[in-house]
Each structure stands twice: as structure tokens, then as C-alpha cells.
């Protein structure tokens, strides 16, 4: 990678603005003609960036654009396998892959961020889809061991009934906007409809 490209990637990752990584790399990729840059293009980082933004489709196209040589890179292979698990919503297969892969220094922060997001999503999904769930199942869906799963359940306010955890859906508090705004909108609608 040319010095400037390396810098850009490092800066983005260091700043913690992971959601910007993929769009920025996409834009730069469209303009890049230098063969040296293309040979060392950070496809793995770009793919993971799209995964962080939950853009599975765009991540898939990053992989499609990579040449067969690039596809040999173990980082890209691992990133693509991660995509496949997320694409198929294979929640259980996702976690072992994450922990067993040797992620590079560059990709590691992104992977951690994706894992954190995925764990949150898994908890939300369980609260919507289950009225009761075994601790083992909860553990495999969230990528933690059963002990931690029990702790997680407690922190979410879920009850333990013998072996089974009773799941309760968290009520989302609604943000109420000023009723003034509502009146304003209603008035505008009525005026326009009468015209």
C-alpha cells in the first residue's frame, strides 16, 4: 500500500469512526489506478467495514471485486467466512470463527466492534423471539459461556425458573415530541387538502 493509503486506513481505524471506513475506502477505490495500491488493497478491512455498517450486500461485492490472488489472503478469507455466517444468519457458527481466527493488527479493532454489535443484536433478537430459552442456547447465540449467559440474563432482568430463563421483552420508551409540532402539521395538511 502506498504511504498515503496506509495512513488513511490507520487514521480511520484509530479515530474509532468505524462506520466511515467502508464508504471512504469505496470512494478511494473508484479513483485508484496505481497498480501498487491495487495489489495491496485492504479488501479485508473494507469488507469488515461494510459488515460493521450491516451492509452485507455491499460487503459481498467487495469480495467479488477482489482478484483470485487477493482471495488467498487469510484475513480476507476469514472476513468472507464471517460475512457468510452473518448472511445465512448462522448465529452459532459466527462466534467460533471470530475467536479462532488470527486477526491482524489492522482488522482486530473492527472485528471487536462487529462482535460487540452482534452480541447486542443477539440479545435483542432473543428478547423478541423467545418467551423462554435454555442457558446453553443463549450462550451459543451470544458467543459467551453458560456462566456468563446466566449473568447476562440477570442483567437484562430475565427470571430464572429452574433450568430455563424466562425472557421478557424490554419496553422501548417513546420519545414524545411537542404536541405543538403535531398541531402545526395538521393545520398545514388541512390547508393543502382544501386547496
Amino acid at each position: 500500500m502506498s504511504a498515503s493509503l496506509l495512513q488513511v486506513v490507520a487514521q480511520l481505524l484509530a479515530s474509532g469512526h468505524y462506520s466511515d471506513v467502508a464508504p471512504q475506502l469505496d470512494a478511494i477505490e473508484l479513483q485508484t489506478v496505481d497498480q501498487a495500491d491495487l495489489d495491496h488493497w485492504p479488501y479485508a478491512v473494507q469488507l469488515l467495514g461494510h459488515l460493521y455498517n450491516s451492509n452485507l450486500e455491499d460487503a459481498r461485492f467487495v469480495y467479488k471485486r477482489a482478484s483470485s490472488t487477493h482471495k488467498q489472503d487469510p484475513q480476507l478469507k476469514a472476513a468472507f467466512a464471517t460475512l457468510q455466517h452473518l448472511w445465512n444468519k448462522d448465529y452459532q457458527g459466527f462466534w467460533p470463527l471470530l475467536t479462532t481466527t488470527q486477526w491482524s493488527e489492522v482488522t482486530l479493532p473492527l472485528v471487536h466492534a462487529i462482535a460487540a454489535k452482534q452480541r447486542q443484536d443477539a440479545v435483542r433478537l432473543v428478547s423478541h423471539a423467545y418467551s423462554s430459552i435454555q442457558p446453553d442456547r443463549l450462550a451459543s447465540l451470544t458467543g459467551i459461556n453458560p456462566q456468563e449467559a446466566l449473568q447476562l440474563a440477570q442483567s437484562e432482568g430475565w427470571q430464572m425458573n429452574g433450568d430455563i430463563i424466562t425472557v421478557k421483552r424490554k419496553e422501548q420508551p417513546d420519545t414524545h415530541k411537542e404536541s405543538q409540532d403535531h398541531l402545526q402539521h395538521l393545520t398545514e395538511f388541512v390547508v393543502q387538502l382544501e386547496v
Binding site: L30, F61, A129, S131, Q134
Partner: protein
Amino acid sequence: MNLSQLLHAIKDMSSRGPQELVQLLQQLKVTEDSLRNQGQKVTEALAHLDPARESLGCLFFLHIVGNIGMPDHGSQQFLVAATRFLSSCDVEQIRLAPDKFVLLCRQVRDHAVALGSPKLAVSPLKDGLQKLAPTPEHVTPIHADFALSCLQAKHYNAAAVVLEQTILDVEPAKTSMKPTDLLLYCYYGGMIHIGRRKYPEALHMFVQGLTAPTFVVNAITIATYKKYALVSLIHSGSVTALPKFTPSSVSRFIKSEAQSYIDLASAYSSKKQQDLPNAIEKHQARFLEDGNLGLVKLVLAGRTKRAIQKLTQTFLTLSLADIAQQVGLETATEAEGYLLRMVDAGEIFAEIDASAGMVRFLEDPEQYTSTSAVQHLNATIQASFALAEKLQSINTQVSLDPAYVSKLYAKDKGDRFPEDPSDFDAEPQSLAYSFQDG
């Protein structure tokens, strides 16, 4: 006029008024043919021109340079020059020669493909279409080339911003638009949406292409219908009927040209499980040839999902084992996995009771009373109002069109007797047809 004289004329007239520009355009058109053989000299002359101030001259010269060596060899030099031109050219000048501008954009795409790097055409073509279109709601031939470049470069999301823009206007006089350009844009645009799994948007683009008024049917239209049918099956489980204003020629041709797809659709909704796989196998060669085998496989995969969704209409609770058996899955665990995925995607509302192995089907909990629902409703209403205003302005435009008014008057003339002399002095507006009165 020789090249150096022409160069002088370009430099001189480009910064004067619009009349001089029209004269310059004429001169360029006249000398174009003689310059075609002087490729090298034109390339050198091009270096002396400023794309921002002498856009018209640049356009013609670039077009000549772009033809050198094509279609075999792409030129990196041309591509760089054209990219710079497209990002900095003067909008007023290039709109005087839309057909030439469109040809240049096509050359950019051809060169990028010949160089083996279609992505290099993506940004320049985006600039090009934004410069040529009189408003963002106008469609240009460059839209189709741009979408094709994004497809070839596999940079599907680069097209997102352009595709999100609703197309409301077509003006062939200003944009050199041809019917095939619109059909191609709808087709390629739909394909990009399919790649990004935005099925409702894809269906919308396909319908736009299928309902374009026409008497003859294009191969593009048939291909569009095939994809439309498959995406409709994937998205909603049935092929939604085309709107009433679809041209009758299109409806007729669909029956004869897309028979395999119609068979597939009826096999999908058949009660017998095996009908669909059989139909797919029977028409496999056709699907492969059309490049639609991937979509067909998605159709098949989607059927299990539909079957589970249908269960919610009959049952309130069901055991995981029963679900698996009804839907044709192997184990209860498999069914649980399926259900979890569907809940995640918002395709079903259900609660799994792991202790009893039972599933309870729920109603959609959306009450439409939350702030986000109200905001969404607000936005949709505003959009409807904007569309109604646009429709009203188009209606007024048509009513004031002299051709329309004369036809209307000729029709009325037969009914009215004797003639009312005051009508001859009447303003067009008072004769204009109005929706409210009609």
C-alpha cells in the same frame, strides 16, 4: 477552416454570448469530418483548451480523440482527459450539443472497459449525467451507461444515490434521449437493486420499464419482465399483476415469450410440494440462458419461508416438531433456526417457548402510535403533496400546449353552432381544460 484557425475561433468565441456559442457549434459541426483524420494534431490542440471555459470545443475534440484506436485499445490518456472534462465542463455550453455529450460519455465507458477497468467510468459518468440533466428528475441516456458501468465494475452501491432519485421528466430535445435508453436504465437499475437485496425498489424500476408507452416490444422489455416475475415471487410469493396502463403489446408478448416463467409462477402456488422443483428442472436450460438461475434458486429457497408464514393464518400455537413436518424440514431444531432467522428479518412475529418446544404466533405489535410512525406518516404525506403539485403543473402545461388546444377547439367547433365571435379573442387559459370542471 484548418485546425489552428478553429482553435483560435474556439478561444475567441467561447467567452462571448450565447449567439456566438451557437455559431461556434455550427463551425465545429462543419469542420468535424475533416478533423477526424488528424487525430494526433487534435490531441495536441486539446492540451491548449480549458475544459471549464472552452467546453464546447473540448467536447468535440475529445470525441475525435476518443475514436482513435477504438474499440480495440483503451487509452488511459483519453480517460484522464475525459474525466477531468466531465467534472469541470460548463453546463450551458455542453447542453447545446447533448447528442455529442452522450456519445462522449459512451466513449468513456468503452475505453474503461477496453482497459479492463470499468470502475474508472463510474465517477465521470455520474458527473456527466448530473451536468446534462436539466433537473435531477430528468433521465438522460447517460443514466443507462452509468448503471451499466456500476454493474460491470461490481460497485453497486456507487449507483445508490442516482437510483434513489425518482424520475419524473423525459425531454429528448434537451437530453438526446431514446426509448431504449429508458428501458436499459430501468433494467440495469433494477438489477443493481436486486444485487443489494432491495426488492421493492427493483420491482418499481422494472414496472417503470414495462409500462413505458410503446407499440412494439423490445427484447429489453421481455428480459425485464422475466426478472420482474422472479423478484415478485421472491418478495411477495406471487407475481403481482402489471398495472392497467401497461401497453397491450407488452402483455401479449409476455404470454408468448416468457412462458417458462409463467409456468414457474403457477408451480410455486401449487399445493403439491414437488411441482416447483419439477418446473425448475424442466425449464432449467431457459433460466440458465437468461442468466436467471440464481434468482430461481432464491425463489425455491423462499418457499419454505412462505409455508411457515401461511401457518400463522391457521394456527395460534404450534410445536416446533409440527412446524418442521408441515413445512418439509428435517428436525425441530432446523425449524427453530428458520423461525429465529425470520423473526430477525421481521418476516414473522412469534415467540418460542424452549421449555415446551412450542411456538406462539403473534400479531404485528406495531400500533402506529410511536413518534417514528408519526414521522414516517408525515414524510409520506408531504411526498404525496409534492407529487400532487407536480401533477397539477404538468396538467396545466398540457392544457396550455397549442397543439392540444387546437385539437380541443376543433372538436368543440363541431358541437357549437353558430360560432361565438368572442371566442377568437379568448385567452388560451380560459379555453384550457381543467380537472376540477371535468
